[in-house]
Amino acid sequence: MNASIQVPWQAEVVSRVQETPSVFTLGLRLDDPAAPAPYRFAPGQFNMLYLYGVGEVPISVVSDPEHDDEIQHTVRAVGRVTHGLAALHPGDQLGLRGPFGRGWPLEAAVGRDLLLVTGGLGCAPVVSVINYAMQRRERFGRLGIVQGVKHMDDLIWRERYEAWAGQPDTQVQLAADVAGSGWNWHVGLVTDLFDRLGMPLDQALVMLCGPEPMMIAAIRRLLELGVEAESVWLSMERNMQCAVGLCGHCQYGKDFLCRQGPVFNYPDIRDRLGVKGF
């Protein structure tokens, strides 16, 4: 019986970085003789990580697709499985199956200006693209990076954003709804930031992830600024049990997020986005 796509491979934690009190990055190495070598994925795809005796959760891959010695996942501890994953250390084992879903349209992005928008806490899928583009800077035009958070303390990787801001042809804008001292970025909404980027957006390819209300507000503003609907891509989240199109939990209207998503082209989901109940 070939059950491989539904049965995890064993993987070992080879590195662990605490990013904030609740966010950590696990570097994993596949240890299973049955696992594919090299492990191949596209930015925006995700793995199912299995914690022994507890269960599986979908987590995006944030490492570079050409460095398969360490498969990295940045995780926020929110519940049963993710709190358990937070307790793992180098040398510990867990299960991994994947990659699943469709990633970002990186072929179509070659030669274009990129605008990468993240909001709230859900930044891992887009950060993988920022890293990807930074490593292959010559392939892309201007790079705009926009991140909005509720509270300034929610921002992870502030130093990275500040370092990216110093790169040629790269504009970074950050916003926090609530900020105290030590915040020299914008106080307000992510939608305020597009005008401040100082780069034309009408030719840009946009990739977004984060809470749906933020993405909807951002898209509305971007369309006003001349971005083409077809150039907007977003990564969605729904409950996932199987990741292989069987369990029905990730349904989003006619689509199964684990197969047709999690990354969608905006016109394909415009009819459902933000409608309660989907």
Binding site: Y52, R238, G248, H249
Partner: protein, 375 residues
């Protein structure tokens, strides 16, 4: 024994007393036979060792929220329409062990798929609507290039004996969905029941092999005419209808229709409809460790879009109320299914109407939603 070409058609008549020869032939071919039996006041598919296990003389009364068996003096064993379940739980099982994890003293993990049970099944007495539902479950679980190995294993070994419906329930509407009451060729054998026995048709080469072992008699013209009349009567007896065609746009256009809130006042969100529905496929996964901590088994279990967890993502339930869950069930079943599987997910079996504790009727809800949505 009658002989005939490959074209579908009756191969002969199997007297009721000779029904066991069918079971013996299937057993000799390696099948475990299951079929309808009365258990807990309902007709359920269970192990069948003789024709005398069948529900002879049993008829049923079905109505919204109502199911009762009654004993009559008919010699027939299939004088009823559908019980709460038929094929689905035997292929897509209510609980399936997918894999086991072994953890050694150093915390190292080994994963092993669980092989599904060995014996191929012969299911006797399935209905046309069950076969239509099976074709939909096949599309879902046997998707090209990505077949579910657990379902596929059971499906490969399956032998299906259909019995055409002569006693549709008041809740049935398979005529309007185009799925019954007469079985097509998606089975191995198809029977028509008469008082004195069964007209037999082989619908596959596996079925042909079995037919050749049966002590068939010639089917008389009078018997053929009787079957024709009963088939017609079964069609015209149906009282309910589902509006024809693809209802997707009508239902999605009715997303804010007040009817959803009205049905939600009655609906208990119990999920009975999704568990008796022969096409629903939702399931969740759970991991169950042994007490000594050295092993865990990973299961999938039936789930329903009526549960809180179905649409849960950290901290939010996207369908928090019964209104949005009932709407998910109906717009998926009768709407998105067209995009996902090329047809409606409803085969007109009426089970969700019968087994709904408060008697919500899918055909009535749809008419109300369409009438006022301007269809």
């Amino acid at each position: 024994m009658a002989t005939g070409g490959a074209s579908p058609g009756w191969r002969g008549f199997l007297p009721r007393e000779a029904f066991d020869t069918l079971l013996r032939a299937l057993e000799a071919a390696g099948y475990e036979c299951i079929g309808p039996r009365v258990e807990d006041g309902a007709i359920l598919y269970r192990g069948l060792s003789a024709g005398s296990d069948l529900p002879q003389g049993v008829e049923e009364a079905q109505a919204p929220g109502h199911y009762r068996l009654q004993h009559t003096d008919t010699p027939r064993c299939f004088a009823w329409a559908v019980g709460p379940q038929a094929i689905k739980p035997h292929l897509f099982t209510p609980r399936e062990a997918l894999w086991e994890t072994e953890r050694d003293a150093d915390g190292r993990l080994t994963f092993r798929p669980v092989e599904p049970g060995p014996r191929p099944l012969a299911i006797i007495g399935v209905r046309a609507c069950d076969l239509a539902a099976l074709a939909l479950q096949d599309q879902h679980f046997l998707r090209a290039g990505n077949a579910d190995p657990y379902y596929a294993h059971r499906r490969e070994g399956l032998f299906l004996v259909a019995v055409n419906c002569t006693h549709p329930a008041a809740t049935c509407f398979c005529v309007s969905t185009g799925d019954g009451p007469q079985a097509g060729d998606d089975c191995d054998l198809a029977l028509d029941e008469l008082d004195e026995g069964y007209a037999v048709r082989a619908a596959s080469s596996k079925g042909e092999t079995i037919v050749q072992q049966l002590p068939l008699q010639a089917l008389t013209e009078a018997q053929q005419a009787q079957i024709g009349r009963e088939r017609e009567a079964a069609r015209s007896a149906q009282q309910r209808t589902m509006p024809a065609g693809n209802l997707r746009d009508h239902l999605f256009n009715a997303w804010e229709h007040p009817r959803w809130a009205q049905v939600a006042e009655r609906c208990l969100s119990c999920g009975n409809c999704t568990s008796v529905c022969p096409t629903c496929f939702c399931h969740q996964q759970v991991d169950v460790p042994t007490l000594d901590g050295g092993n865990a088994t990973h299961y999938r279990e039936w789930d329903s879009c009526f549960t809180q967890n179905h649409s849960y993502i950290h901290g939010i339930t996207l369908r928090p109320d019964t209104r949005s869950r009932y709407r998910q069930w109906l717009t998926h079943k009768l709407g998105s299914w067209h995009d996902q599987y090329g047809r409606s997910g409803c085969v007109g079996c009426g089970r969700c109407i019968t087994w709904c504790p408060v008697g919500i009727d899918i055909t009535e809800e749809v008419s109300a939603l369409l009438a006022e949505a301007g269809k």
